[in-house]
Symmetry: C2
Subunit: 365 residues, 2 copies
């Protein structure tokens, strides 16, 4: 059956070939640098895609919540880092997990450590989250007194094992060039290695873990860190193209949306496909107008580069407005046709579309 005949409403299409290629390229990059590859599973959120990682030799993963840890633990993953400051309200689920898997948690305060030390029934590895400039979470790299305070508290508990320092340089998402990503990477890695050197005598097994898809896609040598945790690369998206992490041909997902109306006077097509499918993530085109996605053609070999002068210019809850200044595309597209759209931020689109996802080999509804 033709894939088009299986699609009735907005559906996320996953190109298995591109996705598996993204996985194997990143695995090779990690391997060449001799670092552990612990991919972040928050982008694909899929047991099936998880299996593709397993087939590529991956056995340790990163997730972003206790719920996600439970889900992948139920699917047989047994070495999981929850890369989020530990949510102590979820202690019961953490207890169940710690009995079942090799669990690593993140902490940045002695309060959280003290709680875990007293309440966690199993064992956990603990990373101290370091803020290398993103300023979302983590202890600032220069704040030695707070790092020392957390470590002192940590040493009081037999069930907690200090693993090392972990950073997510999320500010690479705002980088304007490969050079800028590279500067952020080197600054972050310098900060982490300064801490590593300071504490290596006291903790000989200490290691440093580094995340973010732009750095892990653009840099070639990660030998200064011990572990990388990129996530988005599994699907990539327009945001990553704009940063320079990938090309259009590396984007593994597109949202297929039925055309429901045509407005020739303003050269707009209306699709079923809105904020509840794409998310409201967008970037701005050179003329200052928002872009919520780019249209591509779908063929046997995946999708084309973006169609010239066709983009999602507005979204409401379920409607998408496709600006189609490409006259030929506008005229040839009919009500009931599907438009394939590359998403701006595949993590959010994938989360919204979990219940409806197709690959060329399998259908997940």
């Amino acid at each position: 059956m033709n894939i088009e005949e299986m699609i009735f409403s907005p559906t996320l299409i996953l190109n298995e070939k591109i996705c598996r290629r993204n996985i194997s390229i990143m695995a090779e990059r990690a391997s060449r640098s001799g670092v552990i590859f612990r991919p972040h599973f928050k982008t694909h959120l899929s047991i099936e895609v998880g299996n593709w990682f397993r087939e590529a030799g991956i056995s340790a993963i990163t997730v972003t919540s206790v719920a996600m840890a439970k889900e992948f633990s139920d699917a047989g993953w047994d070495d999981i880092t929850i890369a989020f400051p530990v949510n102590i309200r979820e202690i019961e689920e953490l207890n169940r997990l710690s009995a079942k898997v090799k669990l690593n948690l993140l902490a940045e305060s002695s309060e959280a450590i003290s709680f875990l030390g007293r309440k966690l029934s199993g064992r956990a590895g603990i990373f101290i989250k370091i803020d290398t400039g993103y300023h979302r979470t983590g202890i600032k790299q220069q704040n030695f007194s707070q790092i020392e305070e957390v470590l002192t508290e940590l040493e009081r508990y037999e069930n907690l094992n200090f693993k090392g320092f972990l950073a997510h340089a999320g500010h690479t998402y705002k980088a304007g060039s490969n050079a800028e990503v590279s500067v952020i990477y080197h600054e972050s890695v310098l900060a982490l290695n300064t801490l590593k050197q300071k504490y290596l005598k006291r903790y000989p097994h200490l290691f440093i873990s580094y995340g973010d898809t732009p750095s892990c896609s653009i840099l070639n040598d990660f030998s200064e860190v011990d572990e990388i945790r990129p996530g988005n690369f599994v699907f990539y998206d327009l945001m990553q193209v704009n940063i320079g992490s990938c090309s259009y041909a590396d984007i593994a997902v597109a949202l297929a949306c039925p055309v429901v109306a045509k407005h020739a006077d303003r050269q707009e097509l209306i699709i079923h496909g809105g904020a509840v499918h794409f998310s409201r993530e967008h970037y701005f085109l050179p003329d200052g107008e928002p872009c919520y996605g780019l249209a591509v053609e779908s063929g046997n070999e995946g999708w084309s580069d973006p169609i010239d002068k066709v983009w999602i210019s507005a979204l409401s809850q379920e409607h998408g407005t496709v600006k189609a200044l490409n006259q030929r595309f506008f005229e040839e597209t009919e009500i009931g046709d599907l438009i394939y759209v590359l998403p701006v931020h595949s993590c959010l689109t994938s989360n919204l579309m979990r219940g409806s996802r197709i690959t060329d080999k399998q259908i997940y509804f």
Copy 2:
């Protein structure tokens, strides 16, 4: 059991009292104007909240997709308008629905009508969607030739019954004042009534249907239309407060988010609660900074007005950053506490949080 003890991770709390009050106030407003009240169910997406509407005497509803129509039809609703240009790819589900419920569909092209006329196995009422200025979907009010073309096609089919003209004045969402909403309402209603007068002889049962929460909340007299279809009012949100449709006390939902980190140097609290919980919808504060939600206190009688100088200043996939310039609030809030946040756009938050919703009487996980 205290509600706080039932919350471990980001959870949408629905205040049943406020919600039922919003429903009964809108039902009364419709009744006073003598118009049909066909609420839009796209905001709450809940069988349970649907039952509260039923208890308030509502029997006809609006939805935004075929999937939503199926869901509420399965829950016993049998008079449903799908207020979205008909997606002809979903003809099989539409056939099943048309055999089961009193179904109304929207069309704005003779292509869609022709398709339905030939392929729809049951009967359907058809509204012509009119664009009264929002410029998303619909035939422009002055485009008589296109309206005539659709009607001519419609008359060819015995299974399609022309119901009238329908508009959604979504541009009220960008209105800066009650007066502006009022102007949009009156312009839209004038356009619809002009069409009604033009076609009333030919279609004596013709009626006009009008939507949007700002108009239906701010105006008092709807006697110039025949039906209203507001949706958001059931929960309201900060966007509606900013438009002037409601006060903070009318917002029926808040997202409870656990605090996972404190950053005294920048007076920020980090919560588990991100774009996958709130959506990325935001507005801009007077200083130009984005706001993704406002924090409130929770008590036995619902929640307080927003806490002074405390707002969600940034969101990533699962993290929220709470700017807490209120020193007392910052100091008193501890890791593991819950922060209650009024959402910017409750339709999107509600869609994301469907699997996790609590009221003071019931838990829906």
